[in-house]
Amino acid sequence: MNIDAFWIIFTGALVAICCSLLGCFLILRRMAMVGDAISHAVLPGIVLAFLFSGSREIWTMLIGAAALGVVCTFLIEFLHKKVNVQADASIGVTFTWLFALGIILISVYAGQVDLDQDCVLYGEIAYVPLDIWLTESGMNLGPRTVWIMGGVMLVILLFISLFYKELYLTSFDPAFAAAIGISTTLWYYLLMGAVSLTTVAAFESVGAILVVALMVGPPATAYLLTDNLKKMLVISAVLGIVSSAAGFYLALWLNGSVAGAISVVIGVQFTLAFVFSPTHGLISRRRTSSPGRTNLPKEDTTTIEPAL
């Protein structure tokens, strides 16, 4: 394995860990599509940050995009709760509006902004090893993206391990959380802030779609394999890492986009779990529903069920 391949897989794995850990909480809160919305809605934030700073300065971009991500969640909540727009429609209206705004901004400032739509949608992880971070003395510190993603991963890991209890309670039993003095709104926006941060750090290398794939796919697969949230977090992170490695070689073989190939592997993983999972797979479900009871109730009474 040469060094470039290593860096690409390593970056993919870092993105995968961040996304799939946060994704677990998203899908348990039935907010998978909010993650999708945020990943698209950060576009105008990135463009505006470009325009104000005039460069690809990472900090302004992170702040711009994270701000837009939070604005997006706030708008979705506002449209749904205060304006009484149907929940799914408020997601659809909000993120398309912000995305359209982003594209229009790109077209208006085409000369000044070095960005295009396909980069936003599916990125190009294969270019990661080209952007090397050199110190002033000329020391090679490896690709810049790896450092950024590594930093974001540390933040996410700290966030989840320090505040596991709060995140757990607000996801599963908001009423109880509120009763013992944990603000559900605060943790909702903190989680969404973390999602925005991850999205924007990852978008340049892997694009919005892979972010969604990694946020929804591995957690969904893990959800079919275990009933324990801690195990679910670990399994989905491992699945994410495996998919980024397998995806890289698949892309190499087909001479195509790495981001696309990683989502294909995620799809395969999910299909396998969907059919063969020992507890929640298609086959085991068939087997448990003995011939006399063909109409098994669809709801299962397992522990991982958000109280929403």
């Binding site: 039935r30 998978a32 449209l79 997601i91 209206v93 949608l121 929640h280």
Partner: protein, 430 residues
Amino acid sequence: MNALWEFLSMSDANVRFVTIGSVLLAASSAVVGCFTVLRKRALVGDAVAHAVLPGVCLAFILTGEKNPLILLLGSFITGWLSLIVIDAITAHSRIKEDTAIGLVLSVFFGVGILFLTSIQHSGNENQSGLDKFLFGSAAALVGQDLITFGAVAVLLLLSVLLLYKEFKLLSFDTAYARTLGMPVRGLELLLTTLTVLAVVVGIQSVGVVLMSAMLITPAAAARFWTDRLGAMVLIAATMSAFCGAAGAFVSFTAPAMPTGPWIVMLLSLLAILSFTLAPRKGLLARYLLQRRVRRQMTRENILKTLFQLGEGKGEYQHSYSKEQILERRQQPLLRMKDGLQTLCRQGLIQKNASGWALTESGKKEAQRVVRLHRLWELYLTQYLQVASDHVHEDAESIEHVLTPELEKRLEELLDYPTADPHQTSIPQQP
């Protein structure tokens, strides 16, 4: 102005194609979108839009050429398949619908991107333009496309028109439709097919991401103007058609501007306007109503306080100062001043040297409110066995909303009482 005239005259064939194409696409997807939004499946359109890409690429790989009909067929098949997969996942596992949509959307799109990049790297010169499906380019519409889109739009509108009653029932009351013996499953399938069709053609003008706006935004906006499905569909289609034309106009005057995002931007702005300004359901209308009710309550409470102040001595039209009113009933000073002035204007109270006093008509109005309050207190203690020291709070809010009919019923039920649970007398109707 000149540009607008030139645009409206449609002398340029290219302008004609782009405008008519955008209007047709926008209007037909808005019509179908109304039904998907009402059936709470708004985001499914997003999944279909992303799932179109692998179909387009596969069709190209298999045939090696860009025949629009074959590409459409390919995208139709995978778009349709994505919906089947979403349904299968939600039906046969414990995965929830939103997760299933997100998963199918990203995996199908990933497959598409893998194919697309693979084709691009293969060096087949024919492939340029395939990414039109990705980002859409209404500006590139030509006569040939227009015929296809026109046919699809007519097909969509005709099916909705012919099966309007069935679709309506399906959107609002599936169970009832089933008891009527309608082929619910078949109709659902047909509606799904129409959605996929709308997405497949619409995507070429606005692109993968923005397609769901064409379905959702006009429907969500139209929902605020009306409660009738027919009107909703018409409003949504008109809004969309207008934005389609306006989007084409924007890119006509500024060629660097993309048509699709502008259509979506204008639609979103229209939607925001609808959310705020629509009568009855809009934010502004609801805020005004709330304010009116709140002010009405303040005024009624002032009247009540003046009445109660005089109740001890039986002198109801005595004057009281603001401090005396406040002492009896705490309330924000500004709001009270505002209320006093309005009451004065309405002739229910009058101002004199020592303060404010009820007029004859003011006394009657005050009596009415106090009466309702005490009747309700009595009702709670007698019929719901609420302790008499717990009934005041509840009566405070209900006294402002009880109608004369309810008042009469309460009186009958309580057998024309004269005293409330605290043994104060209930003022009788004059």
